[in-house]
Symmetry: C2
Subunit: 132 residues, 2 copies
DNA sequence: GATAGACCTTACACCTACTGGAAGGTCAAC
DNA sequence: GTTGACCTTCCAGTAGGTGTAAGGTCTATC
């Protein structure tokens, strides 16, 4: 199975697969006589694992750790859990920040007339926090 | 007022101010005889404006537009409002995505025993969406 | 006058997680 | 034998800065 088939089957792009190989997130693919990369079902499992972990929100470095746990039969599930708990905390913090941002934006939108006049609460607010 | 004082007064770092000048988000600072950048209160207003807009979540390109509206007395508040409404929509979409991510992570954490056993719902889930 | 330390300048490299494009080799079909 | 769709590598660019180096300048102290 060559790279574009592996890409389709895993949900990654060929470019991304090559990139993952280059940064050694995944091992080097075996090569056919023509130098083309060749993937088997085990390789595909790894590609899918990474695709899902990325889609779930893990960074490439976190995927590296998850992958090493995935491939280690001696792992303890506690290690996996603490990794995911850490990620959860960071995601929750990001949500709090974005919610705050949304509230600010909503407030700005409500206080701006949105007509042909130049005076505008949004500009005023960004220009001078005090007049808020 | 030289760059580090302007930095302190605006909440940006000197590096960031130089960066903003380099990408022409802000105009070139005037220079003293020694070649040092020199900021007046008007410059400071612009720096503060940008700092607040960035902190509110606007991208540098969005800041560029906001700044040009800020500096244009002929502006219509409707232009400002639609810019901010667009941003609000994007932020809300991001929140939805992060909430989904958080739910997934919470579910994974709950279903992982977190002990010395290797078997773990997180790894299983990432390895094979079907066994989820 | 010399020197130390804190500033300033520019320029280049690095970060994340890819993506686009160029230049060239290979394969399958017609 | 040629076309088009693959494949290969490598380099550059994206956003929004930060780190570091090499060098100039300012101020204070000895």
């Amino acid at each position: 199975m060559n790279i574009s088939q592996a890409a389709k089957a895993s949900g990654l792009s060929p470019k991304t697969i090559r990139y993952y190989e280059r940064i050694e997130l995944i091992g080097p693919a075996s090569r056919g006589e023509n130098g083309y990369r060749d993937y088997n079902t085990k390789d595909l499992d790894v590609l899918r694992f990474v695709q899902r972990a990325r889609a779930t929100g893990f960074s490439v470095e976190e995927c590296r750790q998850l992958l090493s746990l995935y491939q280690n039969p001696e792992r303890h599930s506690s290690e996996v859990k603490s990794l995911v708990q850490g990620k959860l905390k960071r995601v929750e913090a990001q949500i709090v920040e974005l919610n705050h941002m949304r509230d600010t934006l909503q407030d700005l939108v409500q206080r701006c007339p949105g007509n042909e006049v130049a005076q505008c609460a949004i500009i005023d607010n960004l220009a001078d926090q005090e007049t808020c």
